[in-house]
Symmetry: C2
Subunit: 573 residues, 2 copies
């Protein structure tokens, strides 16, 4: 096996951990805070999670912090624990460090502890397919990207037969706890599983770990999901490099779509890091009910104004989920999904794209048809062609960056005729996603994930279930990070899915009142017209801490550290 | 202005320089070696370059190395020099360090020296548009990527009127020397300009600097062009990240096209760094006269074999220029270019893509028509649509990675029916180019470029013209690097361009007998079937020298350092 020199060095990196977790775990006590509710739909959730709803927040503290006002529970007598971990959903940098932290924590707790990894994601929990994670194995993956130690998968555990299969596996394997590393859906499943196990008298505890590069799994107590920091640093490296190319060559507009699903956190973070000319924010588009034509016109206005100043180049960031947040497009997609679901056989029987197009046009409402027909042919074709097994349009596969380029090109041609644009428009489209999901975790994510693993271990030791590991004060030094657990139901509400109300963790979209968006919206007008690019460069793992260890701009704006830190990744000079 | 934290730190990086260049420049002497010839076409070139053909190689040495067998020339008495620099063609990481090295060298030579930067590439030489590069300006750009300090451009200086305009500029500005930073075309222009100036009695010397991420400007004395190291490290970071994603998710084949124009150096270097399942090498395709169908079949065989082992994922690297090296495609493109040039008006008069297609089909020969019709519609449409101002097909804009995916998908469907393939094929296409051209230069490129700038300064001080700066022993420690000059005519031959024979620097394509390709071809069969990915990670500027300072694998295989160094970017364990 060949291993890169960086990887060899990274194997030796020792993640920084909070002071609390450096000492003897037997001295770590659990302090229960106030009991919790949910995001909304309290009654429905209370009845669905009769045993696990409303549990208190948990903070781990040192035994020396004992005080009478807030009692705390000491750790039980150490014994070997049997804990399993499963990675669920898309890759995020740092997953291997969660495993390493959990492994090290369990061994520190008791040398007889065993860590098991389910293979290939939740499907492994159902089938029981697993490996034991031993020291040699985990050492080879410390501080590396990827989920390849045990793999991942997208199977959801949500039906009764699946619960039964999972229960059988954890019982047969005599697991004290199952740690589920995942995003909103996977942690929803973890909550359901926790409730199911309690109800069924199964002693296996279920603990979640907040993973997703998308950054949309957070609340007051979950400051960020892991992977967001590294992924956005990787994308920002590339955006910065392209921006430097743009203002060296001075002849291209680069339209860069960024992964992130519905939420625009990734695009916003990258914008704060790199200061592009334009960054579209889906949540704002929805809030203002912008039409595609309005978005295109706004882009064209920026392009035209820059052209007046001789700047025939620029950078536009496009969040992956944009198209669903444009009201008219959302309505079209909803109608397409409904028509195709209801009349799937008719549609499938048509054997040419042209016949499909004619058929769909007559099947759509007048307003949806108008939107559909206004789209460039290559995009409307994608809407018909790229559908998932349920017949739904795969929004993430729509080339939104191409759509914008095509519409902008057309509109600029009109403006040229009208005399409101005099430039030359050349464009290049990019899409970044897979480039960042498996990068070597930044020092921040390496430290954060390792600490999450240790925290999950403590939650297992203290016999909590239905909790997600929580590490807070992330903008302070690692020594001061606080660790604990948040009841999963606290993150939930009820939403309509596949025709019925389901309990789900509510996605945290970009808050238009939050500091990250407010800082962005204050500055963007100046970035649009005046080239103000910042070039973050490649993620650095060695060197000055300011370069190597800083957390994301988003979290620093959301949660300013006690010591003022206003640099957000660069300094003004 | 906002500056990233990394950029602030990089401003302070002090490039390492050869021992020879650390001391007093007055102690640096020029030793002339043997006189040179050219790559081919000696007589034609000797007559075209009557004054500058056949000049000797030049090595700079310390005055203390004086010996009777090889006489050397001491430096002239220091005086303030007026030198200008121009950046030409596509961006490459390190251009700013060439400027910084040249600036520092000139100031060390004499405090009254002046460095001028022509703006916007060679067009600036013609118009005289320039800035003086002062200390503040250059300091703000040390060790940064991009060409934005003075910009670049693609204007060629090759006509008599252009020579006259350039002569007027350099005379008016009383330049002692003009330093041209560029690739093969730009250095060809530099050679012509040098000859023209000598012929015209103009005392301005012309000195080239070998720039191109493509790595195709090299010979015995030019070990590598600058930018290749950083660009390939940046692409390899991304390829490694995607490879890790591929073997974590286990469900996608990623087809990654890489910039590099005709030569496959970039793809080969990235393959040596990351060990993908497949890396196509254009030069090999041409040497073996492979058809598109053969390439596709070979890909399908690899995909099918991996599927048998349960590996429904993989990485395929595709050099940008591939399509032109497939004989049947080359013939088709040549015919298309000819037809469109000869009958442009007829073609332009057709107003629909379908009409154009019908017209072109009847205009092509039977064999070209067969190739054209066998292409997927979206690719043949590109061949007709994306043409440059001369009507030529823009090969670099053809989505070769998409072409391969479409053909592979089709062929795998056939193989499934034939029973020779049982897997599931899902693919994702990527193209990397702009991401790497303006990255912060690696330590290697930062050191190399700074040394190239110092070397260009010495060539100016010693009054050489028609030379390209040469830094050798690049696989040894920087202290031992040797510096000198290579006559530009030594890199040249005659080639047919736009219908007539022109002197040009011969592109160095991948040598199928060279060590980089031989090592690759020995190992690729094993990489194809057994997942052997290496993850180089982000370019590191701080930390262990092995991680931060290593030159490219290509150069280390081409020129093993005296001390055996077999690691090529990773170690086997």
């Amino acid at each position: 096996m060949s291993i890169s020199l960086l990887q060899q060095e990274r194997h030796r990196y020792l993640p920084k951990v909070p002071d609390l977790l450096r000492g003897d775990f037997r001295r770590v006590c659990a302090r229960r805070g106030l009991s919790t509710t949910a995001v909304a739909d309290y009654d429905a959730l209370r009845s669905l999670f009769a045993r696990t709803y409303g549990q208190p927040l948990v903070n781990f503290v040192n035994a020396s912090e004992k005080n009478e006002d807030s009692p705390m529970e000491t750790a039980p007598e150490p014994r070997g624990l049997r804990v399993a971990i499963v990675l669920s959903g898309g890759q995020a940098p740092g997953g291997h460090n969660v495993i390493a932290g959990l492994f090290d924590g369990l061994k520190r707790w008791h040398a007889d502890s065993v860590l098991i990894g389910f293979l290939g994601g939740p499907a492994g929990v159902l089938s029981g397919d697993h490996i034991e994670i031993c020291a040699d194995r985990v050492d080879a993956y410390r501080n590396t990207g990827g989920f390849d130690l045990i793999g991942s998968g997208r199977t959801k555990i949500e039906s009764e037969s699946q619960f039964a299969a999972a229960a059988q596996t954890v019982t047969r394997m005599a697991l004290d706890a199952l740690v589920v590393v995942g995003g909103d859906d996977s942690n929803t499943n973890a909550a359901l599983l926790a409730e199911h196990f309690v109800n069924s008298g199964i002693s296996t505890k279920v603990i979640g770990v907040p993973k997703t590069i998308d950054g949309d799994l957070k609340n007051e107590a979950i400051e960020t999901s892991f992977g967001f920091d590294t992924a956005t640093k990787t994308y920002s490296e590339l955006i910065g490099n392209i921006a430097r190319d743009a203002c060296s060559a001075r002849k291209y507009w680069h339209f860069i779509k960024l992964m992130g699903r519905s939420a625009s956190h990734i695009a916003l973070e990258c914008a704060l890091k790199t200061q592009p000319n334009v960054c579209l924010i889906s949540e704002e588009v929805a809030a203002q009910s912008l039409t595609l034509a309005q978005i295109v016109q706004s882009l064209c206005d920026t392009i035209a104004t820059r052209a007046q100043h001789g700047e025939h180049f620029g950078i536009v960031l496009v969040p992956e989920g944009l198209i669903e947040f444009i009201p008219e497009m959302k309505a079209l997609i909803t109608e397409l999904n409904e028509v195709m679901a209801r009349r799937a056989q008719e549609f499938e029987a048509l054997d040419t794209p042209d016949a499909q197009r004619v058929w769909i046009e007559q099947a759509l409402s007048a307003s949806a048809r108008a939107v559909f027909n206004a789209l460039p042919a290559e995009i409307s074709t994608q809407l018909l062609a790229d559908r998932d097994p349920h017949g739904n349009v795969q929004v993430s596969r729509i080339d939104t960056e191409r759509l914008l380029i095509l519409q902008v090109t057309e509109r600029l041609a009109q403006m040229k005729q009208e005399g409101t644009y005099t430039g030359v428009f050349s464009s290049i489209a990019h899409f970044f996603g897979y480039e960042g999901r498996c990068a070597f975790p930044s020092n921040f994510d390496a430290d954060y994930c390792y600490t999450l693993g240790l925290t999950a271990c403590l939650l297992a030791v203290h016999r909590f279930t239905g909790y997600v590991a929580s590490v807070r004060n992330l903008t302070s030094s690692v020594a001061e990070w606080a660790v604990g657990g948040v009841p999963l139901t606290m993150l939930m509400n009820m939403e309509r899915r596949h025709g019925s109300q389901k309990p789900v963790i509510k996605k945290a979209l970009v808050d238009l009142e939050g500091m990250p968006f407010r800082v962005f919206s204050r500055r963007r007008a100046s970035w649009a017209l005046k080239t103000s690019y910042v070039y973050p460069g490649a993620v650095q793992y060695y060197g000055p801490p300011a370069v190597c260890d800083e957390p994301s701009v988003t979290i620093r704006l959301e949660r300013p550290a006690p010591a003022a830190n206003s640099s957000f990744g660069h300094r003004s000079s």
